[in-house]
């Protein structure tokens, strides 16, 4: 295992310390239990928090700040945080207007956030939750744990965070979150595995000409292993299922998000973006807003995911609203 770390057991805390030092103007990191808040909490608004296993940086702590999250809860690598830090973050994010939990749909995340929400309610904090499940690679049926929350989470956190920032109440913010989730679809592919620090070796092995299609963000294998194909063919393997699922149709205005899994450089992400935007245009779908980069990652995995969000005036306005976080910043 080749990583710039000291010890698999302390990697999350060691990294948080560097993150805290690097962004002391924006965030404050609390330890034991570990959670991250804005350095200057904003009161009188709905608190918006999220969390999950670490290894997806900048998600979620990199999105704490004005116009996005009030707090984030990083668990161990690929392991949902326990209820304690979620509860602490919930209480820190509450200033009387209630708190929205943005939870990616994984059994562990759902169970731990649920428990924390019960505990917070018992302490008098009004909590609602949105479960993000945008991954079209997984069939949402009786035969699965439901669709995973992947790239759409980033878009949802931005839009919903900005709605809370402008003063929307908990019900409105929750409904908006549901609406974003209902209008976003994602899918990913891996060119290489990642190595979980405490596992010490790659989660799966791929031959030189193989890729995994339909991966999540935890280094888990995908639905299908296929041969590497040129980008012009690879992009539609992700984009077509996305477009067909909602479905997106000619005349739609969308936000297109091409996300790197951590080990794929920008030169390739922009290349994929260019193809995706063109293929949407060919279907009569207009890309009005876009995001390209490493925003929800799987450690050092090589690969990318595509997310498409159907926009309307309100979603576009909230996307454009100022945001000032370690990982996303504009309008400020």
């Amino acid at each position: 295992m080749k990583k710039i770390i000291n010890d698999p057991n302390t990697v999350v805390q060691d990294s948080l310390r560097g993150f805290a030092a690097a962004h002391a103007d924006l965030v404050q990191v609390h330890y034991d239990p570990d959670f991250v808040t804005r350095v200057t909490p904003k009161t009188g608004k709905v608190g918006v928090i999220s969390g999950g296993g670490s290894g997806h940086e900048p998600l979620h702590a990199g999105f704490v700040g004005t116009g996005m999250l009030d707090a984030a809860v990083p668990g161990a690598v690929f392991t949902s945080p326990t209820p304690d830090p979620i509860l602490a973050a919930t209480q820190a994010a509450d200033s009387g207007a209630g708190v929205l939990h943005i939870v990616k749909n994984y059994t562990g995340d759902v169970l731990n956030f649920e428990t924390a929400a019960e505990l917070a309610s018992a302490e008098g904090v009004e909590v609602r939750a949105v479960i993000v499940d945008d991954d079209v690679a997984v069939k949402d049926s009786l035969y699965t744990a439901g669709r995973r929350g992947v790239g759409g989470t980033v878009l949802l956190e931005k839009i919903v965070g900005s709605a809370a920032e402008r003063g929307d109440d908990l019900l409105a913010v929750t409904e908006l979150a549901e609406r974003v989730n209902a209008n976003v679809r994602s899918m990913g592919a891996a060119l290489s595995s990642c190595t979980v620090p405490h596992a010490g070796k790659p989660t799966f092995e791929l031959a030189d000409n193989e890729i995994e299609i339909g991966i999540g963000i935890h280094g888990e294998p995908g639905r299908q292993r296929v041969n590497l194909v040129p980008a012009d063919e690879l992009v539609p393997m992700l984009l077509d299922p996305i477009v067909d699922d909602l479905p997106f149709a000619s005349g739609d205005n969308v936000l297109l998000f091409v996300n790197g899994m951590g080990g794929t450089p920008l030169i390739e992400l922009y290349l994929a973006y260019g193809i995706a935007e063109k293929q949407l245009a060919d279907r009569g779908i207009t890309v009005e807003r876009r995001l390209v980069g490493n925003y929800i990652t799987s450690l050092e995995m090589q690969g990318f995911s595509i997310s498409v969000l159907k926009l309307d005036d309100e979603l576009r306005e909230l996307w454009d609203a100022p945001v000032n976080t370690p990982a996303l910043r504009w309008g400020v």
Partner: protein, 215 residues
């Protein structure tokens, strides 16, 4: 008989087992999950050992409760709430009894399994820890019905759990992270069922070693 000391022994034994099997559980979780189950359980059970040293407890229920809350606050992931709920429900089910006889042992096992099912909503055959717990409970109930000693009850439960865990190999997962793989999940043993069988084996081994007292 199972008393507080016995329960601490069993949990310590399980913690040791988990540390030994950490890599194996990580490997199982690599194949159909996210490669953390061994690390999760190890982190949790090490914390349980520390917590019990700090707060030994006077009844089996107290020991179980300390273990449960420690797991809930230290493990995370899917396994943390599931194991935590299992032990919490078992603790509640046996109340303040100083020692547990065969019937009480079965009560505890039933409550643990029900806790897992209540939280995780998995059914038998979904390729989860339920596939270890369910046959274990049935075997324990059968054994208790013929008034078998605790040692026997736990031994049969462990054996059934191990068979159940092995039986997950051909299954296609329908709950948890492995379900994302669809048909590709078949051919691999479920990590949570495996660690659950180890848990029941730790109980059985504790009973076997203390068999003079525990019959």
């Amino acid at each position: 008989m199972i008393d507080a000391a016995w329960m601490r022994d069993a949990l310590t034994r399980y913690a040791k087992r988990i540390t030994e099997q950490r890599e194996y559980l990580i490997e199982l979780d690599s194949a159909i999950g996210d490669a953390d189950h061994g690390a999760n359980m190890d982190r949790g059970m090490q914390a349980v050992v520390v917590a019990l040293a700090d707060k030994p407890g006077n009844t089996p229920a107290e020991v179980l409760k300390t273990a449960a809350t420690t797991l809930i606050s230290k493990v995370g992931g899917a396994a943390g709430p599931l194991y935590g709920t299992a032990l919490l429900r078992a603790s509640i089910a046996v109340g303040d009894q100083q020692t547990l006889d065969g019937a009480a042992t079965v009560t505890a096992l039933v409550a643990a399994r029900d806790g897992i099912v209540a939280r995780g909503k998995a059914e038998i055959g979904d390729k989860t820890m339920v596939d270890a717990w369910e046959p274990a409970v049935l075997a324990a109930q059968d054994a208790a019905a013929t008034n078998s000693p605790v040692k026997e009850i736990l031994s049969l439960a462990a054996q059934a759990a191990e068979q159940g865990a092995e039986g997950t190999i051909p299954l296609i997962a329908r709950k948890g992270r492995a379900s994302y793989l669809g048909e590709r999940s078949a051919g691999h043993q479920d990590p949570g069922a495996t660690s659950s069988a180890m848990f029941l084996r730790a109980l059985a081994d504790t009973a076997a070693e203390n068999s003079g007292a525990a019959t």
